[in-house]
């Protein structure tokens, strides 16, 4: 066990970690930040996506010790300062971009990474960027719309009568 320190959602944290402790384990078990989920063990599903030093990574495929000193942002750090939903989160609710909610934290984190790198993506670019994030509920339709809306694009309301 060694002590690992990092900044998570703007707060300095530290905790014990083995060499094999994954970043996601450090966050979920060590820090009680259970919003980051584990949906697979082959680095495919993306439910564990967080930002490390401003870049999306799969926290199930990175050791906690390798994040020593890093700035980590998780889903718990994505709301506005007043606790209201951030732009992407709000768009996911407005456009019904989630159902069971399990993949959702990863989807929000990858969407934020996309919009940082490409503020006005096409539908094709959005779908491409979601390659490493699997959703089993929504069929992606409303996730794509939510990201388009979060990018400020004009998106028709859900369920037009």
């Amino acid at each position: 066990m060694t002590k690992v320190s990092m900044t998570v959602n703007g707060k300095a944290v530290s905790g014990e970690a083995e060499g094999r402790t994954l970043l996601v384990e450090f966050l979920r078990e060590g820090q009680g930040l259970t919003g980051t989920h584990v949906g697979c063990d082959t680095s495919q599903c993306g439910a564990c996506t967080v930002h490390v030093n401003g870049e999306a990574v799969k926290s199930c495929t990175m050791f906690a010790a390798d994040a020593e000193g890093a700035e980590v942002t998780t889903i718990e750090g994505m709301a506005n300062a007043d606790g209201s939903l951030g732009t992407i989160q709000q768009a996911f609710q407005d456009y019904h971009g989630l159902q069971c909610g399990f993949c959702t934290p990863g989807m929000v984190m990858i969407a934020a990474d996309l919009l940082k790198n490409n503020p006005n993506p096409t539908e094709h670019e959005i779908r491409d960027y979601l390659e490493g994030n699997i959703c089993r509920c929504t069929g992606y339709h409303n996730i794509v719309k939510a990201i388009q809306a979060a990018a400020g694009q004009s998106v028709p309301a859900v369920a037009a009568e």
């Binding site: 063990d41 999306a56 495929t61 050791f63 010790a65 390798d66 990858i110």
Partner: protein, 262 residues
């Protein structure tokens, strides 16, 4: 995972000494190794994380070549060489997915030499030189079969030097589940010839399709590929593709790469 010690050297020299014992294994971005460790298919004792070695993260252009540090992530390569070597940037920008590209490194990919990895095709197709902490190895000598390279135990890929071709393109047919290449072909056209490297297809890992190289060297057009077909012998056969299908795709992907470049 089995328990192991994770050490984090800050220099290549420190890393080399940490790996010297033989018990230790190098950890690049971990995008392949960590899933392997989770399945307890490896028990390294000590993992030497290479992510904290700044001298392995660079992109340098000089005299018709570009050299990329072994610790450079796919995402960094995709951005940094977009203008210098767009064919390679495009390949790097389509490896795995965005999160994987932010962690996976060129050195890690080449050291692992997965038969379905993308970078081996880029390196072999470019005629790159693999630079290690001990020596330089030509790509033609470096790839020695599935998961096998010319690297000695503990040897670290510190960089890769790519000659920059006139143009290059990577055509990839993804395996439906993993989205790794089922078959992918990297075609690079140099002033003095054409190189065609194939990944995903062969039981021997990445290889050069010399018949296509010769044909394209004589006439760089899709027509030149008309009469060629890759042999089924030694092709991987699995639930995603028979040997015949993979051999067929080699021709299709090569043709498409050439068409993109024409």
């Amino acid at each position: 995972m089995y328990a192991f010690d994770l050490v984090k050297p800050g220099t290549v020299a420190e890393a080399a000494s940490a790996l010297a014992g033989g018990e230790a294994q190098a950890l690049g971005g971990g995008q392949t190794l960590i899933p392997t460790l989770k399945q307890r298919l490896a028990d390294p004792g000590t993992l030497v994380s290479l992510s904290h070695i700044d001298e392995m993260k660079y992109v340098r252009e000089s005299g018709g070549t570009v050299e990329i540090g072994g610790g450079t992530t796919h995402a960094m390569v995709a951005k940094a060489v977009a203008d210098i070597y767009p064919g390679l940037a495009d390949l790097a920008g389509r490896i795995g997915d965005p999160s994987v590209r932010n962690r996976g490194t060129i050195g890690g990919s080449l050291a692992n030499n997965d038969p379905s990895a993308c970078y081996p095709a880029g390196a072999l197709g470019s005629g790159a030189t693999i630079i290690t902490d001990k020596r330089e190895i030509a790509a033609d000598d470096y790839f020695q079969g599935m998961f096998t390279t010319a690297l000695d135990e503990g040897e670290i890929v510190t960089g890769v030097r790519f000659p920059i071709p006139e143009k290059a393109h990577y055509s990839k047919m993804p395996q439906p589940a993993s989205r790794f290449p089922l078959v992918a072909v990297y075609v690079a056209k140099f002033a003095d010839g054409v190189r065609v490297a194939v990944t995903g297809a062969s039981e021997d890992g990445v290889f050069r399709w010399t018949e296509a190289e010769e044909a394209l060297g004589a006439n760089f057009s899709t027509d030149a590929l008309g009469g060629l077909s890759a042999s089924e012998d030694g092709m991987i056969a699995d639930i995603h593709g028979t040997a015949a299908y993979r051999a067929h795709l080699i021709g299709v992907m090569t043709k498409r790469a050439v068409a993109e470049m024409s």
